[in-house]
Structure formats: C-alpha cells, structure tokens
C-alpha cells in the first residue's frame, strides 16, 4: 500500500515540469474541444494525437494521449447540455437531463454538475486503477495460452453484444477484424498470408492508420451525411459547481463511479455503456425518479460520473492483460506499443512504476478538465458554432498527414482510406465498427495463443475447456451467445413470447 503511494508520488513529481504542465493544459483543451464537437469522438482524438506525438518521449506522448482521452469524454457533455447533441456517444445519457436543465435556464448549473461528476468519476476510477492493476496483474500471471485465447474471443463477443445494435452483426464484424489481423507474415514462420505479393502488405495493416480510418475518416463521412441543424444556445447561469450537490448525491457518485470503472474493465465495452448503466442504476435507487428525463441533477451526475470513471477502468485491462476496455483505450494501447512500453501480465514485474505513471497522468488530466470546466464555457460555445463543412476538410488533412507521419510511407495513408471507407459502408449496413477494431487489436493474441495452446497439448482441445479460468471464460462466452438466441433466452429467462 505505502509502496504504491510512494511510487505514485514519485511519478507525480516527475510530471511537475513546465513542459509536462504545458502538455497537460494543451492536450486537455484539445480533448475537450474534440469531445464537444458533435461528430468528433474521443477515439478519433486519441488516434490523431497518437500520430502527432510519435516523435515525443514515451512518457510525454502518453501523458498527452491520456489528457486528450479524459478531456474528450468530459467535453462531450458540453454539446449534450447546450445543444441536445452528444459530443461523443458517451454523453448521450447526459442529453436527457442536461438539456432539460438548460431549457429551464440552468445550463450553467448543469455544466457545473457535469464537471463535478466527471472529476469525481475520474478520481474514483483512478483509485481503482491504482488498487486493481497490481491485483489483476498478479492474476494475469496465472494466464496461459488457453486463457488468453478465450480472453481474445471474450473481448470480441462481449464488445459486439454490449455496444448496442444487432449482436449477430457485431460478431461478424469482430471475426472479420480478427481475420484482418492475420493478414501479412505469420508470427511463427514469417509466412506471408493474403498479401498477394505486395511488399507493404507483407507486414500486415498497421493498427493506428486502421483506427484513424475507422474512427476518423469514417466519422467525418458520417458527419457530412447527417446535416447538423444551426446551433441555438440556451441562456446559461454560473458554471461553478455547488458543494451541496456533491454531498447530497454522494451515494450516486460513488455507485456510478464503481459501475463506470467495472464496465471499463470489461473488454471492448466502453464509456457509453458505462454512462447508461450508471444512469439506469441511479434511477432505480432514486427517491426522485419522476425527475429523470425532466432535468434531474442526480441523473446527470450519474451519467457523467459513470462515463468518466470508465476511462481509468478501460486502462486496467490494457495494462495487465494487453486487452483494451474501450475503443480509445485500444488506440492508447497501440500508442504504448509504438513507444516501446509493453503492457501485459509482466508489467508489475518489469515496469511497475509505469502503472503509477498512468495514475499520475490521470490525476493531471482531471485537473485539466476541472480548470477548463470552470473557465471555458464562452470559448466552447464559439467552437460549437463552427460549421461541419469547415471542420471536416481540416480533420481529413490531419488524418492524411498524421498517418503518413507514423512511418513516412504512403501505404499507411491508403490503409487509413481503406478502413475509413470500410467503416462507413459497415455503418450504412448497421454493422458496429467497434468489434471490428477490437478484432484487429486482439487478432495477434488470439492466433498466437491458439496455435501455442494446440502445440503444447499436441492437438488436444480439452485444456481449452477444463482449466479453471479457461472454463469460466468459455462458460461466460457461451452464455452471452446463447442468451441472444430467442428460444434459449425465453427458456432461461422464463419469459413467454
């Protein structure tokens, strides 16, 4: 316990330099602006910033990415409250009560509640990040090839099931993503697969250009498709949060923080599910249920606490299992690998200080959003008035030059375009993109674990089903799938047609 605290103070001290503080303030601002602008998401923001920070030392680059991530998830609440348009999907739940409060002339108070909830949520998540990462790291040391295989399958299946929409389509997208990860030289014998003699493709698709395409280019295409109505802002009062709100709703804050963090830990689920789950739990337990959807302070607090608590939660499996808890966390993981940081079960043995570095980065990001939450309202309203038609070409230029900057090769730009078009077409047919991306991230782990497991057992499949952790993971996966089969679901839940 005390060792952890000492390590945390040491990490925090290492970031208290003029350069780091400048990066915290700048990247939190970028994150808040990206999050506030409808159509630009946290994933796009983190992916673009990954390309911009490629030449920086790893600690500074990751500090910038974490501040952008936290800032973007928080920033989404601004447009949710002022425009009734969630800046990021994570803020959709905040529209319900945030906009209702704004229409009653309490937009400032709503923004103050959002700031309080986001700050408290990040702090609760940060506490669990520091507490659980070493524990989960110890547990992860017991994982072998069989467990990692099921964990990769689990990530894709659960992500497809819980991110909304049609799970069957999500599973298809997820398995397609797993396949895409196998393109190029295989990890054991360097045999080229599905590269069709192309030298660039022999190395496979790079992860960051694919993510920039799927979440950057595809999203700006969607933004161009959906015409945004002219911005009409309600008048607002003071944005300074009231201490009374924190004390009055401390149970809601704590509950939402815990729910948000734990949903973050589940691979591939993410902030929007965390916000909705926290909101639903708060409503169930509330004494003022009738206010929900009509301007409930408690409802807004729950949604904002839940989505921001999910951010540190989503980083816990990245650090301990090398499996992302959300889409922005997947980009963050790719950035860690690019910068030579190796997350995974060995992290608490090889580089325990890094875990506390991430906790310190999270605290600095929280300070960043608190500062901007209290000061930036008028500036953000100006940003919200910038039309999509002007933002889109600028973001696209950044997507192109950003992906080129990664390795100085045009193939990465082509990869970005390919995945952008693919992501856009998939969305038109209502296929979720998140499981596809998670599949690409987890494909290598799945393949290596599966082949290694089979070699170890000489082709015997039973260890995949009989080892305790493997069997548990397999059981959960089977249950998640079976519950989506209508007949089985009716049988298990006992509901008639």
């Amino acid at each position: 316990m005390f060792q952890g605290l000492i390590a945390f103070w040491h990490s925090l001290g290492s970031f208290l330099t003029v350069e780091s503080i400048f990066f915290v303030l700048a990247s939190s601002l970028v994150g808040v602006v990206i999050g506030a602008l409808p159509g630009l998401t946290a994933t796009m923001g983190v992916a673009l910033m990954t390309t911009l920070t490629i030449k920086l030392p790893s600690s500074q680059a990751l500090l910038i990415l974490i501040c952008t991530y936290v800032g973007a998830i928080y920033g989404g609440s601004r447009s949710a409250i002022l425009l009734n348009i969630p800046g990021t999907p994570a803020s959709a739940a905040s529209c319900l009560d945030g906009y209702a409060l704004a229409r009653q002339g309490h937009a400032g108070r709503a923004m103050g509640i959002a700031t309080t909830g986001s700050v408290m949520g990040t702090l609760i998540g940060m506490f669990f990040l520091a507490l659980f990462t070493p524990l989960l790291g110890d547990l992860a040391l017991k994982f072998g090839a069989y467990e990692f295989f099921w964990l990769a399958v689990f990530g894709v299946i659960v992500s497809a099931t819980l991110t909304g929409g049609d799970p069957l389509k999500g599973w298809i997208a997820g398995f397609a993503g797993l396949f895409i990860a196998t393109i190029g030289q295989d990890g054991i014998h360097a045999y080229e697969r599905f590269s069709f003699g192309t030298r660039d493709l022999a190395g496979g698709f790079s992860l960051v250009p694919a993510l920039v395409g799927a979440f950057g280019f595809a999203e700006i295409l969607v933004a161009m498709q959906e015409k945004r109505p002219p911005v009409k802002i309600n008048p607002f009062d003071t944005v300074i949060p009231k201490i009374r709100d924190v004390f009055q709703y401390w149970r809601t804050i704590l509950r939402s923080g815990v729910i948000g963090t734990f949903i973050g830990i589940v691979p591939g689920v993410g902030e929007d599910v965390a916000a909705w789950s926290s909101y639903a739990a708060a409503k169930r337990a509330s004494k003022e249920k009738e206010l929900y959807g009509k301007g409930s302070i408690e409802g807004l607090m729950a949604a904002e606490t839940g989505d921001n608590a999910c951010v540190p939660g989503a980083i816990i499996p990245v650090l301990t299992l090398q499996i992302p808890g959300s889409a922005p966390a997947a980009v963050l993981m790719a950035a860690m690998l690019i910068h030579g940081v190796k997350p995974g079960p060995m992290i608490m043995i090889e580089s325990p200080q890094f875990v506390y570095d991430v906790v310190a980065m999270m605290l600095l990001a929280t300070i960043g959003i608190l500062i901007y939450g209290l000061t930036l309202t008028k500036f953000l309203i100006k940003v919200l008035r910038v039309p999509t038609t002007i933002i889109v070409p600028i973001i696209f230029v950044l997507c192109v030059i950003g992906t080129f900057a990664l390795a100085g090769r045009l193939f990465d730009v082509w990869t970005m375009l390919l995945f952008g078009v693919l992501g856009f077409v998939l969305r038109q047919f209502r296929f979720p993109v998140a499981p596809l991306v998670l599949g690409i991230v987890l494909g290598d782990l799945l393949e290596k674990s599966f082949r290694r497991g089979l070699v170890l057992s000489d082709g015997d499949l039973s260890p995949f089903f009989t080892r305790p952790i493997s069997a548990t993971l397999f059981g959960i996966i089977a249950l998640v799938i079976l519950l989506r089969v209508p007949a089985v679901n009716r049988f298990i839940t006992g509901k008639s047609r």
């Binding site: 498709q225 038109q428 998670l438």
Partner: protein, 174 residues
C-alpha cells in the same frame, strides 16, 4: 464504444440479405485461400503451426455467421419487401462528391510530386467552397466573397498544418 448504430432505425431485411451474401462470399474466399495455403511440410513443422489454420477457422466463422444472418433476413421477409432506397438523390450526390474530393486529395495529390502545402491548399479551398455555399448564401455573401473566404481558409489550414508538422512535429512532408 464509439459512434455506433441507431437501434431505433432498423435496416430492411433485403439489405441485411445483401450484406449477409457479401460476408458469406468473403468468409468462403478466406477459408478456401487458407485451405490452399502452403502447409510448410518441407520444414517438418508441427501440424498445429500451419499458417492457414487460424485464418481458415476465422473465415469459416464469418461464413457461418453470414449464413445465419441470411437465414434470419429471409425469415424476416427479405424476399417479400422491395429494395429500399435509403438516400435521396441530393444526399447521394453530396456523398459521392465528398468521396471524390477526399480520394483525389489522398491518392492523387499527396505524395505524387505536388508539394504538400499546395495540395492541402487546393483541397481545403475547393472543399469549403463547394460544401459551405449553402450556409454562406444564407449569410448573404456573394459567390466571389465565398470564393475568397474559401481561399483564406485553405491558405490558413495549409500554412498551419505544413509548418507545424515540418518544424514542430519534425515530419518529412509527403
């Protein structure tokens, strides 16, 4: 996770059937390609290390799931409903133009000898001039004024992006 689908806006079963067929073809092609892949027998490798094993299984999974989607679409009346038109003509034209401009910029202008700053200036100016016209007209601005504004946006974006990437992020521009 990120911007996803709107569950309140279901897709007609006919379109689900089309996408299911595309996935079945894709999954089938991957499975066949994996089956025909070299098994590296001359290297005497363990049979569970053959390179096509995992892609083949994943291709088969996509094929089976595509088949389930197709059967579900048929059960929901894919053959009974007419092919839906999802977009208006003007929206289709807009999207076609967006695709054309972005692809011309990324594939035709960048990295083909034209300086990056010039390619970016041309792309951003043309894009804003074409797509911001409705809003500009609503503000009462004449066409020449709209063109000048688009050129200003293009020049500013090109200068800021080119200079910052070259001198701050130390990137060799394409």
């Amino acid at each position: 996770m990120s911007i996803e689908i709107d569950p309140d806006d279901p897709l007609p079963p006919r379109l689900d059937l089309y996408s299911a067929l595309a996935w079945m073809v894709f999954g089938g092609a991957v499975s066949v390609g994996s089956w025909r892949m070299d098994r590296l027998e001359h290297l005497h490798i363990n049979k569970y290390e053959i390179p096509g094993l995992v892609p083949g299984l994943l291709g088969a999974a996509v094929l089976v799931l595509g088949l389930v989607l197709a059967l579900r679409a048929i059960a929901r009346g894919a053959f009974g409903t007419p092919t839906p038109t999802t977009q208006g003509e003007s929206q289709f034209r807009t999207m076609a133009l967006v695709f054309a401009l972005t692809l011309i910029y990324a594939l035709g202008l960048v990295g083909t000898g034209l300086p990056f700053w010039l390619a970016t200036f041309v792309f951003v100016s043309v894009y804003i001039f074409l797509f911001d016209r409705e809003r500009q007209a609503g503000l009462g601005r004449s066409v020449p004024k709209q063109a000048v504004l688009a050129l200003v946006y293009g020049a500013a974006t090109s200068a800021v992006v080119s200079l910052s990437f070259e001198y701050i992020f130390l990137v060799r521009l394409p």
